[in-house]
């Protein structure tokens, strides 16, 4: 059933070894990340969960090439930190749609930056509007869309750049609970159809992480360290029903206890 999830033997697309990051200088510095080891294999969905302010976003910034680690190495598809910008898809917490562009012109922004002609870019976008629940809204401006639609538009913009690695920074945190669970199911379906994409999902929602990912890393409060890495295998197919199984609730409480125990370290 979860065929793509039997991916143990696939190559490591992302490999992070002993990465530390300190922000600020002199006596005013903060250690944001300390000796982080991390990897993700091709096609895997890997979640990083941790309390707010544990350096999760900094971690994604480093994977995207926006920030450089102070020590340690980062390799994404064979590329190192200095060459990563532009080759990793990164969707941030906020949708960051440009208010002066229509939905269509927003989602093709990345293609435009790659130098692809607007005509071809629009054709590629049109093909996917439907599966992103945006068809019929191509000519609307972002202000007219609901939070979920805006988030899907932002996601389509990231997907269209066609990078094989996707970084998602708490993509649904701005949505209400009902919308969030709809979006999680939608994302789950979508990711199954893009099974070659490697996804790193940062969240503080344990349920979301368990529902969507193949492996989970738990981070400690600042400085962020990886406390535990756990592989997630379910006996049931992933659906809402899974959430009420004993296996799910047990795993959830185990992960939560890691989170809580790491919290008391502080």
């Amino acid at each position: 059933m979860d065929s793509k999830r039997e991916s143990n033997l696939k190559e490591k697309i992302i490999e992070v070894v002993n990465v530390s990051r300190r922000i600020g200088q002199g006596s005013g510095y903060v250690d944001v990340l300390a000796n982080v080891d991390f990897y993700a294999r091709r096609g895997e969905v890997v979640s990083v969960i941790g309390p707010s302010g544990c350096g999760k976003s900094t971690f994604l910034d480093i994977l995207a090439g926006l920030e450089r680690p102070d020590s340690g190495t980062v390799t994404v598809q064979g590329l190192h930190t200095e060459n990563l910008l532009g080759s990793v898809g990164y969707m941030q917490q906020k949708d960051l749609l440009l208010p002066w562009r229509t939905v269509m012109n927003n989602v093709i922004l990345g293609l435009e930056m790659q130098g692809i002609s607007k005509k071809i870019a629009r054709r590629q976008a049109t093909e996917r509007m439907d599966s992103f629940g945006l068809s019929g809204f191509e000519d609307e401006y972002p202000y007219a869309l609901s939070g979920g639609m805006r988030q899907r538009a932002a996601f389509l913009r990231t997907i269209l750049t066609d990078t094989s690695v996707l970084l998602l920074d708490e993509p649904f945190s701005a949505l209400d609970a009902l919308n969030r669970s709809h979006m999680q199911e939608w994302l789950l379906n979508l990711l199954e159809s893009y099974d070659e994409k490697t996804v790193v999902l940062v969240t503080h929602d344990v349920e979301e992480a368990l529902f969507l990912s193949d492996r989970i890393y738990v981070m400690s409060p600042r400085p962020g360290r990886i406390v535990v890495a756990e592989k997630i295998v379910w006996d049931l197919p992933r659906s809402r029903n899974l959430l009420s199984t004993q296996q799910f609730t047990e795993t959830k409480s185990r992960i939560l206890s890691y989170l809580l125990s790491s919290e008391t370290v502080l």
Binding site: Q92, Q93, L109, Y141
Partner: protein, 262 residues
Amino acid sequence: MKKVLVPVMEWLPAIGIVVTILVGWEIFVRVWNIADWLLPAPSAIGYTLYDSWGLLAGHTLVTLEEVVLGFGLALVSGMLLASAITLSKTIEKALYPFVIASQTVPIIVIAPMLLVWIGYGLTPKIIVVALISFFPIVVNTVDGMRSVDSDMQKMMRTMGGNRWSIFLKVQLPVSMPYLFSGLRVAIAVSVIGAVIGEWVGSSEGLGYLMIRSKPQFQTERVFAAIAILSVMGIALFALIGLLERLLIPWWHREREGRPRIS
């Protein structure tokens, strides 16, 4: 019918104030029997507007030309300067202090010097107008370009954006509402700039007409010129507002927040 009524209703308070002041003024002048050269009644000013329309219209066009050209020059140079300041730290450090310093030098001092250096014609007036109006344009546009949030810049960089593409695709459009705020201030001071330019030395324009009419005790003509200048200022201001609605419609919709699709 409703479509016509709504703007009328919106303007009603302003029109009410104007009418009240004019009526009070008229009564004041008539009851106290004040001489026309000291304070002409609104009716006398109105009559002058009607009677000397040919003369006034000619001078109005001259002043309008100075305002439009000076403002245009300020717009183009202001936007170029703001872009340069945004794109280069060095240019910012080198030029921004001068942009601010330029506003501390009284325009009334610079205007006569321009006359000495450049002469009597249209050019020194255009420069005075541009000098006085480019400041709000530059400052507002720079603020707008800087207002881009850092997450937006991050997003552009992860999509392979460089300094230039971030500027063109994000910073420039983001700065548009700020630019228009600057333009509104700029157009109002432009009219003042043109009048000052004409006062210092000219042979035509409403400012010149005022300077010439005052010693001849044609006070109602001075007031007629003031009335025209006010109307010009208001009309140009309204025109900027209209252009803003046409050119950046997204800004108003974003602010008004039409009901969302859910």
